[in-house]
Symmetry: C2
Subunit: 315 residues, 2 copies
């Protein structure tokens, strides 16, 4: 594992903002001479892929540094080493397109021109798809997990309320934001099975589910900068490539829906795959059955690994 | 329409609290000599049934004061004329069972011993079911709409986060609470159709759905006491009659699920109907098809009216 911070210089955002000296935090695994794989993270991740996707990426795993040069990169706006509101008080509004453009310049600096694969889930999947659209000559294949081609009205609503909570009180509000987010990442069935109506084990709250959410809020408050959270949820909400005119349809696309996901509905993931197929892309839809909801991309790596192996052997 | 505030005297709560001189705000419609119908309200309603269920209750409607003596009653803990945190600074923790027990004493004072029908939706449905369980000799029929026999883990989670927001700031927090609640009352399909990714019409926010939620927060802040909201969400969360031992199964039960309701899943409503049937009740399940989600009980009165008319004519 190699960690580095790359200065990509002045960066102009699509909506008119400017970052004077944009930084991109990058973590790489494996030999730079191997085929390159880019793994953008979801809303709260970092460039250290193995911290959050260690069951899928790592020695002996589906995406193995023995075979690939694997690149993790912290999204513009986040608080894990790249430029964002935590480093830059007047950080501008950024979109998924901006995040990907900044990454492309970091990859230029790394000397990586071709990507065998870009794979991400949720906001990471949005980045993977944007890569295929904006840099078709650099991407052989893009895989989007629990993610599709636009942020839905319900998704915007969930994020907007979370931003309200942060605006009310950055520290206490981000705890509330995380709790709301956790509901959207899980499923009714999972909560029923795991928590049901059981009493809080610490007897601080009435119910176990309340203690669970409190615990999630506690962890999150310590690890996420509130304004980075606002910036990245806004980037998510900005995402809509349904109207993208295909210039070059050479990247292969694989969309993976999650059965119980109510943040990125599997029917929407399927519709996105079909939309891109109708534009001339080799675009495929697969689905994971899981009770975990959106979080299945973290909670069920083995199911994801099976799909990726099938897809890879057929590629 | 007649409005009255009934003093029911000292009231002992199931969890040990006490209200010195409990008040029950009551609104009645029709002739006291007609068969009586009780219509408990949902989380934020009042005793003025026609203010919120005027398409179902009123002259010429399914529940007609020309035919019935119709009683609306403000739940204990609410802020529309009954005792609650807005009138009593040390108002105790109350359950749905307490709310119903207080109502039974108000009905005693009104001279109403028998109810032809108790009908309610959401928290109102919980009260209707509790009436059938606790006062089986007084209830001929109970109808529960978008409601079943327990608050789910997801329901508790949604309410707990809303209470967090109110605890952070009563006025601004209740706006956030209402926004969260609105998501749980509506459906992804409805938001998609009504708001999609359209721009905010007032250009204050980026998206229309954000402006809509802001508007809902504004209205709600003016009409709901934050601590009443906390008290009634706690009462909802307390509700679980799955283990109730039937003493008298004479009340007829009708459970009505709503197809797109993700707060009270139709499969749970059906399961509750079946659970009560297996205990010896005449218990029936019907379902409304609607894209409105939980709010269909307000948004689709004509579909509800059809089911109630069918049910009534067969009774």
């Amino acid at each position: 594992m190699t960690e580095t911070t790359i200065e990509i210089g002045p960066f102009e955002c699509t909506n008119g903002g400017r970052i004077e000296n944009a930084l991109q935090r990058v973590t790489t695994y494996g030999d730079p001479r191997s085929p390159a794989v880019l793994v953008p993270h979801a809303l709260t991740g970092s460039s250290r892929i193995t911290d959050w996707w260690g069951d899928l990426v790592g020695t002996g795993k589906t995406i193995d540094p023995a075979r690939y040069y694997i690149i993790g990169i912290n999204a513009l706006g986040s608080c894990y080493g790249s430029s964002g509101p935590s480093t830059d008080a007047d950080f501008p509004y950024v979109t998924v397109r901006d995040i990907v453009a900044a990454q492309s310049r970091a990859l230029d600096a790394l000397g990586v021109s071709q990507l065998e694969l870009v794979i991400g889930a949720s906001l990471g999947g949005m980045q993977a798809l944007q890569w295929a659209i904006d840099f078709p000559q650099r991407v052989r294949k893009a895989v989007m997990v629990g993610s599709h081609d636009h942020q839905s009205a319900m998704g915007i609503a969930l994020n907007a309320i979370q931003r309200d909570a942060v605006a009310l009180d950055p520290q206490k509000g981000i705890r509330i934001a995380r709790k709301i987010a956790m509901l959207s990442y899980k499923s009714d069935d999972l909560f029923r099975e795991r928590h049901g109506r059981r009493a809080d084990r610490k007897a601080v709250h009435r119910f176990d589910i309340e203690g669970y959410l409190e615990h999630q809020g506690n962890i999150f408050e310590r690890r996420m900068h509130p304004q980075s959270y606002v910036a990245l949820t806004e980037a998510m909400d900005s995402f809509d490539v349904r109207g993208a005119e295909p210039v070059d349809t050479s990247p292969e696309l694989l969309f993976i829906g999650i059965g119980s996901d109510w943040l990125f509905l599997p029917r929407d993931v399927r519709a996105a795959a079909e939309r891109f197929a109708s534009r001339g892309y080799r675009s495929t839809y697969r689905e994971i059955e899981s009770a975990h909801g959106h979080d299945a991309f973290l909670a069920e790596p083995e199911k994801l690994a099976v799909l990726l192996s099938q897809s890879h052997s057929s590629a």
